[in-house]
């Protein structure tokens, strides 16, 4: 990384090198049976430069061919966005727990047992349902350094459990599914099984629905995907500037936009500090300390 940074600095005002290495093992069940074991090894290196005030960006999996990585970044910098920021200098980062050595050490046999128990729970409840399940464990190592002395490095573990089920009756097909993930190992089917069983119970009673306006009750997962996920992206700066164009009347700040768009009862926050949460981490992808935002 130091060599890439050194070479990039020769042709740019500033540069930043970002490296990600991943080791992952996945156990896959198909049609209620164990089907695949997969292992993935992946490393990649990204270079971001600021050259003549503009951002250039290139990615490679072959760190040894850094002259090409640098020349690709230089070519993109001709057209890149103006760099209206400075790369972060040396920072102290918050302590965020995102690595559990246990997650990477869960034996494959235990992952197989976990997936099997999940499938048993669901097929025991609803005979005839055909399930696919995945149990995944992995470790990601992230390293970042820039020409202003900024440097971040951390390891993150992850463990996830995913399941989908399909129940067919005549031409009627029911799909159920749920997933959970953490930086720590999860060795019980727990909420994933419970949520799928709840979906199956709710599906017992089918009701015809006509096209019309009506109140809709969202499940917590429904709220997360339909409302919570779009909210932070709507608050990104460029989207706010777009929102100003779309909405009538004076808009002085993001807060006033939010007041127009959301009810008084809605609060939404974002944090990378939640210990062992899959999206947590001490630093952003640009080397800034992670923060919390309401």
């Amino acid at each position: 990384m130091e060599e890439i940074l050194f070479q990039a600095k020769k042709v740019a005002e500033d540069a930043e090198v970002f490296s990600v290495a991943l080791e992952e093992t996945q156990v896959n069940f198909e049609a209620n049976r164990l089907k695949h074991l997969q292992t993935k090894q992946q490393t990649s290196m990204a270079l971001r430069i600021i050259r003549q005030g503009r951002i250039g960006y290139a990615v490679t999996t072959d760190a040894e061919d850094y002259p090409r990585l640098v020349s690709n970044a230089v070519e993109t910098a001709q057209f890149g966005m103006p760099a209206k920021f400075e790369l972060p200098s040396a920072n102290s980062y918050p302590q965020v727990e995102v690595f559990s050595a246990d997650a990477g050490l869960v034996p494959v046999e235990a992952m197989v047992t976990l997936g099997g128990r999940l499938i048993e729970a669901v097929t025991g409840h609803t005979p005839g349902i055909i399930c696919e399940a995945e149990v995944t464990r992995g470790v990601v190592s992230v390293q970042l350094m820039n020409s202003r002395g900024g440097q971040a490095e951390y390891r993150k573990s992850y463990f996830s459990l995913d399941m989908e089920g399909n129940l067919t009756r005549g031409t009627d097909m029911l799909f159920v599914g749920d997933s959970a993930s953490s930086c720590q190992p999860m060795l019980e089917p727990g909420t994933v099984a419970d949520n799928i069983l709840q979906q199956l119970e709710l599906a017992r009673n089918q009701a015809p629905v006509s096209t019309k306006s009506m109140p809709v009750v969202f499940t917590p997962n429904g709220v997360a995907s339909a409302l919570v996920m779009p909210a932070p992206s709507s608050c990104r700066c460029w989207r706010l500037s777009m929102a100003r164009r779309f909405l009538k009347g004076p808009l002085l700040s993001g807060k006033s936009w939010a007041r127009r768009s959301l009810t008084a009862n809605f609060s939404c926050g974002m944090t990378r500090w939640l210990p062992f949460s899959p999206a947590a981490g001490p630093a952003t992808m640009k080397g800034c300390p992670a923060s919390a935002l309401r």
């Binding site: 292992t39 090894q41 250039g56 490679t60 001709q78 966005m81 005839g128 129940l167 031409t171």
Partner: protein, 457 residues
């Protein structure tokens, strides 16, 4: 180490590995992309990747190891075999295919990735400028990407296949707004590496930009059942998303109920309905000579004269269902194992002209282009990119984009006219599991669906 040297080393390891079957893929790829949001080029980048995988089958179980360090290839093979051994518990079944040694070139005069970014940017700048000429345009989105890859496939059966392919993809959207009313129009195009079709869209871009503004004044359709005519793009998306995925045998082969539902010989539509998937058509984004299991591409009728007559296979699903392999096992990159995927999927043309198709519709809807949507098993919901009322056999006023929803089996039966104007849609890509976007194409002539549920006011 180059992928060619790695392939030489792997050939021996794969041949002597202790498994029922072993295959390896090696891949080197280059790509570039540009994304505009509004007037600004928000993101531009180039990427390069090298990697590979080994897949082994032991007693019916699979082990898969992917990597981008080409060191310790022996260890990768041993791990894949060991993993497969942990999984397997029955006899391995793979449809027999003869070993192939071949080399397939990308077939493009000029590799799109090597074209200078400045040259591509100039075209995209022109499109963005055209969009912004229209009053009331509030923003635009343009996404361009191209890629080229060279793969080497080798197997314990003796296959050694080197294939190159290139791909280009472009989507353009214009977004207009007035008094809090926001409307969008877009287009999506792609090619098998040839940039030329994507350089000549000035007229289409101007039209879509104008249409986005026109939609601000367009009425919303009244919800209900209508006779709906789909253009080739929307009909192609319907046949891919709503029907094609149900024809992928990995969804069927271990599921007795699905096998009953998708039993060959079952009548799914009128005698005029023929649905085909084939990777053999030259120049289409879903085309290839061999799939990622080294099986030659084939032309597969899924529905012929209204009857279900075929489905798409990997070697394993073909063996288990005692059918012929179709060459549809595909992976988006070396990081994933091949799974059953479509290639170029389309409704074959019939004999009805567009004028005759709409001529006897008193009140209906003409739905064009694709804007978004979802399928959940047999149910689908698609948003048309453009929509017009059909009144007394003529295209009438523009509507705000409509949402079509229904059951695929009912809808196939309700197709009562198939046009004579097949057109293939080369935009976008297909997603399945974690693997997206896979280059595919889909198409259809205009089709007419009676009693189609349309969401509206």
């Amino acid at each position: 180490m180059s992928i060619d040297n790695a392939a030489q080393e792997l050939a021996e390891l794969v041949r002597t590995g202790e498994a029922d079957y072993i295959e390896a893929h090696l891949e080197e790829s280059q790509a570039s992309h540009m994304v505009y949001r509004g007037r600004e080029l928000e993101s531009v980048g180039r990427s390069e990747a090298v990697g590979g995988n080994v897949r082994a089958m032991v007693r019916g179980g699979w082990g898969f190891v992917s990597f981008n360090s080409l060191n310790d290839l022996r260890g990768r093979v041993e791990m894949a075999v060991r993993q497969a051994g942990l999984v397997g518990s029955e006899a391995s079944q793979l449809a027999a295919v003869p070993p192939v040694v071949d080399r397939v070139s990308a077939g493009v005069d000029r590799d799109p990735v090597t074209i200078p970014l400045a040259e591509k940017k100039q075209v995209l700048d022109e499109y963005n400028e055209i969009i912004w000429r229209q009053p009331e345009i509030q923003t635009s989105n343009i996404g361009y990407s191209d890629g080229r890859k060279r793969t080497i496939f080798l197997s314990s059966s003796g296959s050694y296949i080197e294939q190159e392919r290139a791909d280009v993809n472009l989507r353009v959207a214009a977004i207009a707004a007035r008094d809090g009313n926001v409307q969008q129009a877009g287009l999506s195009m792609g090619s098998r590496g040839d940039l030329a079709p994507l350089r000549q869209l000035h007229h289409e871009v101007e039209r879509l930009s104008r249409h986005a503004v026109e939609l601000l004044s367009a009425p919303q359709v009244k919800g209900g059942e209508y006779t709906v005519v789909l253009d080739p793009v929307l009909a192609g998306v319907f046949v891919h998303e709503a029907f094609g995925h149900l024809s992928e045998s990995d969804f069927i082969y271990e599921n007795d109920r699905m096998r009953e539902l998708m039993a060959l010989g079952k009548q799914f539509g009128s005698r005029e309905l023929n649905i085909v998937d084939t990777a053999t058509l030259p120049g289409l984004r879903g085309s290839y000579k061999y799939d990622d299991e080294g099986v030659p591409a084939a032309r597969t009728y899924l529905i012929k004269e209204g009857k279900l007559v075929g489905r798409l296979h990997s070697r394993e699903t073909a063996a288990k269902l005692k059918e012929k392999p179709t060459g549809n096992a595909r992976a988006i990159s070396h990081r994933y194992p091949p799974i059953v995927r479509m290639s170029n999927t389309f409704i074959e043309p019939g004999a009805v002209s567009f004028e005759d198709m709409i001529g006897d519709i008193k009140e209906g809807i003409y739905a064009k282009n694709w804007y978004g949507g979802t399928t959940s098993m047999e149910m689908f919901t698609f948003s048309a990119g453009e929509a017009y009322m059909i009144r007394n056999g003529k295209i009438a006023e523009a509507l705000r984009p409509v949402v079509l929803t229904g059951n695929v089996f009912d809808t196939l039966k309700n197709i009562d006219a198939i046009g004579n104007d097949l057109d293939m849609n080369q935009g976008g890509g297909c997603g399945k599991g974690e693997q997206m976007p896979l280059p595919v194409s889909n198409g259809s002539p205009h089709i007419r669906i009676s009693r189609c549920l349309v969401g509206g006011s």
